[in-house]
Symmetry: C2
Subunit: 475 residues, 2 copies
């Protein structure tokens, strides 16, 4: 598929000058002694907790990161490559709240599991991620154990290890070692990813660095992501935000390669704007779309797999028209920009505060449509269907033409949610809008869910670990 690029060579050079200057002259703060030690020993200038980074040193490290790598699933058929021309899709991650039809409430572990099952049922998703919503009904200190166990047993796709604490990271790695043939095998062939957010501007905090250092050492890919709302975490200028995003992400990528050269890593981005009237974050606007076009172009120049923030992002409170146009106006630019790892593909609502089941279905329709839309078109003699024209002639119709009859089942995208019913028929069938129709669709998908098989001994071993660790953590 063709990429859409908007930055001229001159513009790219200006942006490169910009991030080089940020790294070198303002530097990046790392609130972690180990990170500071690694940079100091590699010859970088460290003052207090700020590291002034030589941009060429950074690029040398970045060049050690692989351009593509494979995430291994418990079912080998679920393994997938990251990078290059491939796009991976992850459902919404992180919201504390859930919307189910008209009800908006705290997310629960039951919701968490239901979103995992939906991500398992639909082949459109490469992974369920790690946190489709927060399971607020579980004890805080040990919930990562239940989440990891659910990710490993309710799905057989690769998953996210979580980065909420060092306990979480170590437990995720320990459980993976049981399921994937030992710690060394896991390090050799990664099975989980994690997302490390920068505390923008230009700062990595201790918790995030704990996760980055541990996962990088264990060979598990880290998605280093500056989360920039222009006006809050970055200047109110797209080029300035791109420069900052690149400087921040490259500093984190460089650190992963200092820890373990060649460890897989993803250049992350998440760039949107602040609504300067309300002070609230805004999503799906023109600035974020332009940011996506440019971010993809910059990532390709750096030859790293690239994560786009969205996905199908929106500030809307409901799965309505706003949710759909803001969502598509993030997702379509992500396709045009050639995103590799697409987070928040389905279900995101209310600026990321809500995981919504109905929006999940709306977004699934969007991503399926776009996958068709950006499949290269084959144009050859057969595709011209000249015989059909000879058959039909002037003013006829093609519904009964041989060419049509041979192809009518597969010739067009078949929608999941969209209705073409005429008004009378639609009215007879309940007169429901698309969000209302979506409810039946995700309910039916859950009915189709089948738990993937797992060796009983392994299952028992994982469960025993969780029980033991939960007790140790005092929950």
């Amino acid at each position: 598929m063709a990429r859409y690029e908007v930055l001229s060579d001159d513009a790219m050079a200006t942006i490169e000058r910009g991030w080089r200057r940020l790294l070198q002259d303002i530097g990046v703060a790392f609130h972690h002694p180990e990170a500071l030690r690694l940079f100091r020993e590699a010859g970088q200038i460290v003052e207090d907790e700020v590291v002034r980074l030589d941009p060429d040193f950074v690029l040398d490290l970045v060049a050690k990161a692989p351009a593509t790598f494979t995430l291994r699933g418990r079912d080998p058929d679920r393994s997938f490559p990251v990078g290059g021309d491939v796009m991976n899709f992850v459902p919404v991650q992180g919201p504390p709240f859930v919307r189910e039809g008209d009800v908006r409430r705290d997310g629960t572990f039951d919701d968490f599991c239901r979103f995992l099952k939906l991500a398992q049922v639909y082949d459109d998703f490469d992974t369920a991620g790690g946190l489709p919503c927060e399971p607020n009904d579980l004890p805080m200190d040990s919930r990562h154990l239940d989440m990891q166990l659910a990710l490993m047993t309710l799905t057989d796709k690769p998953y996210s290890g979580g980065q909420v604490s060092l306990d979480c990271v170590h437990d995720a790695l320990a459980l993976a070692a049981m399921a994937f043939g030992g710690a060394e095998a896991v390090t050799r062939e990664p099975v989980m990813y994690s997302v490390v957010n920068v505390n923008s501007p230009l700062l990595y905090d201790e918790r995030m660095l704990d996760a980055l250092l541990a996962y990088a050492a264990a060979g598990q890919p880290v998605i280093v992501t500056p989360f920039l709302l222009m006006g809050a975490m970055s200047p109110v200028s797209i080029p300035a935000a791109l420069v900052q995003q690149t400087a921040e992400a490259l500093a984190g990528v460089a650190l992963t390669q200092l820890v373990r050269p060649g460890t897989p890593v993803v250049l992350g981005s998440f760039l949107s704007h602040t609504d300067m009237q309300s002070g609230s974050p805004g999503f799906g606007g023109p600035e974020a779309a332009i940011g996506l076009f440019c971010s993809g172009q910059i990532a390709r120049r750096l030859d790293l797999p690239w994560r786009s923030g969205g996905g199908s992002l929106t500030s809307s409170q409901l799965p309505d028209a706003q949710a759909a146009y803001e969502g598509l106006n993030t997702m379509l630019p992500a396709f045009l920009a050639g995103a590799n790892f697409v987070m928040h593909t389905a279900g995101w609502l209310e600026s990321g505060l809500v995981s919504c089941y109905e929006k999940f279905v709306v977004d699934l329709e969007i991503v399926r449509t776009l996958r068709e839309e950006f499949t290269p078109l084959e144009v050859d003699e057969a595709s011209l269907a000249y015989g059909a024209h000879q058959e039909v002639g002037h003013g006829g119709h093609f519904l009964g033409a041989e060419h049509t009859l041979e192809r009518f089942r597969e010739c067009f995208y078949r929608p999941l949610l969209s209705s073409t019913e005429n008004f009378e028929r639609w009215k007879r069938n309940g007169g429901n809008d698309s969000a209302e129709r979506a409810t039946a669709i995700w309910h039916a998908a859950l009915e189709r869910y089948e738990r993937p098989p797992m060796d009983a001994d392994l299952q028992a071993e994982l469960e025993a670990y969780v029980v033991r660790r939960r007790a140790e953590l005092g929950d």
Copy 2:
């Protein structure tokens, strides 16, 4: 703005071979003796009503059409160029029904006038078109008179002359001659456009040819538009549909140049699919988007102004999520493809059967967003806002930075409809979805409407003509 092109040179050559073969070997039927006479006298092979066209003869005629032209508005500030890098936007055209909130009903002349006023109020529209909905409450034979008078008095933008009958065409030209300095001045500088649809496949009917011939002779631009629902009016293959669309449109364009070489004309397209389950038309799908990418590329090769079918097209029955994602998935590809004349920009619902006030507002937000999104990004030293980084440093925020304070009013797109309110505030403000909020927006816009000034004598002259002609037509 950069264009998105998906056809290789090979694919373009295959498509050209295809439309050349259709013109030459299958030909185009013209149900009009004058059209047949013109082609016969120009040396083309005419058998019964089918003209086999020499493709090079067609291209020679096409080359006589201007690459750009200007439509003159009654207010000269409302005149606009068509073609080149310019995009023009027209609201929904043609639906017999109207949706206003929860009510779906027959369109009336009052609706017609209200949509004209909305198109006048919002500078986003270059023209109100000619038929934002059907005024079903007016007598059939003379309603074109009321419509033309309304178009000329309620707006001062260029408009469409209509093509429903020869009476309609002649009356439109006569009224325009009164308002724009006589028939000769109108012919020299066009003031109205019309849309001539092909009765695809490969047939022009008498009514459409009446309009094409009369408008071409009077120098008023005709938008020659094959309306192709793949599976019904064309084969179920995008390349086949593109070939047919090009052959049909070029045949009509050639005819305009036979009538009056150099007369302005627009290469039209309207390509979507038939839902093969329901037999109903489908809009906003991947096939239509691919069709837009390719149609734009073909039109640029032919150096003609290009009309894209949509616009913001949808099959949805309500201004809901489906309406928004299908609409945006037509409009965004139209931008990427570089459409010049964008029909059905705002208000289209239910596969074109309904003009919807709330959808009008949703679509206005979409087109405004995209205009920002496809404005070239300026990347220079100032845009990098280095001073803001020096001011804010590590881990701070930019809300109070000098760079932000100087720019916060204008730095981002300001939405018309979208809400970024947090849940509690949104709930307090009524908890309305975007379609419900849209009602207040179009009501307020109508309140702001001001009738553009018109010379009292001219007004009286136009009205007298309408009264006289209405009597002659027996209404």
